[in-house]
Symmetry: C2
Subunit: 308 residues, 2 copies
Amino acid sequence: MINKLVSKIKETGAPIVAGLDPMLSYIPEQILTKAFSEYGETLEGAAEAIWQFNREIVDNICDLIPAVKPQIAMYEQFGVAGLKAFERTVKYCKEKDLVVIGDVKRGDIGSTSAAYAAAHLGKVTVGANRISAFDEDFATVNPYLGSDGVKPFIKVCQEEKKGIFVLVKTSNPSSGEFQDRLIDGRPLYEHVGEKVAEWGAEHMGDSYSYVGAVVGATYPEMGKILRKIMPKAYILVPGYGAQGGKGADLVHFFNEDGLGAIVNSSRGIIAAWQQEKYGKFGAEHFGEASRAAVLDMKADIAQALQGR
Amino acid sequence: MINKLVSKIKETGAPIVAGLDPMLSYIPEQILTKAFSEYGETLEGAAEAIWQFNREIVDNICDLIPAVKPQIAMYEQFGVAGLKAFERTVKYCKEKDLVVIGDVKRGDIGSTSAAYAAAHLGKVTVGANRISAFDEDFATVNPYLGSDGVKPFIKVCQEEKKGIFVLVKTSNPSSGEFQDRLIDGRPLYEHVGEKVAEWGAEHMGDSYSYVGAVVGATYPEMGKILRKIMPKAYILVPGYGAQGGKGADLVHFFNEDGLGAIVNSSRGIIAAWQQEKYGKFGAEHFGEASRAAVLDMKADIAQALQGR
């Protein structure tokens, strides 16, 4: 799957992943009204609105980008109905040949991580059947529990040709509270980065590893160092746009070959219609506003990479 | 909710939480056969089997213990159907007046943690309605992202009178890989423990905080130190039984008042019928085997606490 991701990035020229993290406040009135009239102001109504919203956006951007990253929390808050919308979104995006990165940030003791890995990347055995549940292509993984929380995911990646992105340095303001603390003179995130390189070395695709890393766009200097520590890890870079990361900040996350990183934007793409800049599209054409935002982001990143 | 947990622990004399972490291999043949005959060997069939299994166990132990801890991964692996069984289990246990600890180990950047907190402890706004999704009483939280990944949970705890247990030192063999690394001469888990105490100080129940901690039974010496660092935090202690923790190891997790810790056992309780010790009950009476295992565990812990 890492090979597919790399080849789709080359094909589209867009190292971009669209974060499908729908909040009800991003969704135009016409979609909410229709969903609520069918299902009421219920969890089912919210889930229907999310699904319709996602579909319209995906239809408008799927030819431009290699991948999407639905953040499962935004679905989970609507309970079982929300998770059904998550499942439906994953399936639809895969039908559109998009690589789907499940932003689930799971991680637990070994046997439990194995169950999460089965849930999101693999299959479960039920009687004589082997069945997929959510079946994303990649999942994000939390490293706090160490190797035996991560390795069950890697095992499933091998079996199913899928991949993971391990949290190394997250994009949020307080990420430094633990991640930046010095251990033997070097911050924790570097130690985690080294482990990612170690885990990934044994699980290589053609040029990059099945084991990638999450490093926030909001910390470009740290990205520079981590890029060197994990040369074969694809870096998933959140924090562009709404969280404050800019195109120029991103160059350090890429390798010399222009590969090695994929930049996420969520609100900046899916709620583009609410920005003044894309206001001309109006609520009716919110999908086209998302398309315009993707094109602008693509140009911003291309310019930054050319300028280095 | 921490007050309810403490008073139920006093009432039952059992600082025990039963981990409802069903694997299909724990479920007696008669339940599997019935579920599969109704729903096929499908995710729905597996979910039905889990639900029937849980219900029987809960019916047999609910008068003996204060709380249950369903591990959501074991449900999530069966997709939407599995999560429906999770929802049903949470609801049923609450009807039986059990405190429900959702072992979800969630944690993300602020806005995303807020969605997880809504999903598991709080409510979401849909139109004019405020609706609960999974609605556990407590949730476990991963601290790797720092304060702004944890505080949204605390905010919901305040609003809803619920609680969290933050992962401090986990029970698995490789937990030391990052958690034990020395920062300013002290292991990372102590620093996390200090944060737990700090977060918790502002959010107190009558005698304990709404912010608790997870510390594995497999590391009793560390439990001793963490008990002192976080005197007001309830400690959720996994790793008893199947993972190797023994009654005598547990004393250090408790305060002098005999409170302050609640010990989890999962397989040891729910799959008791498969142990030689409880073999006399047979597969038909697996719920009674679970009851006997709870009584034995209660005696083991009581003896250890008396002996100190």
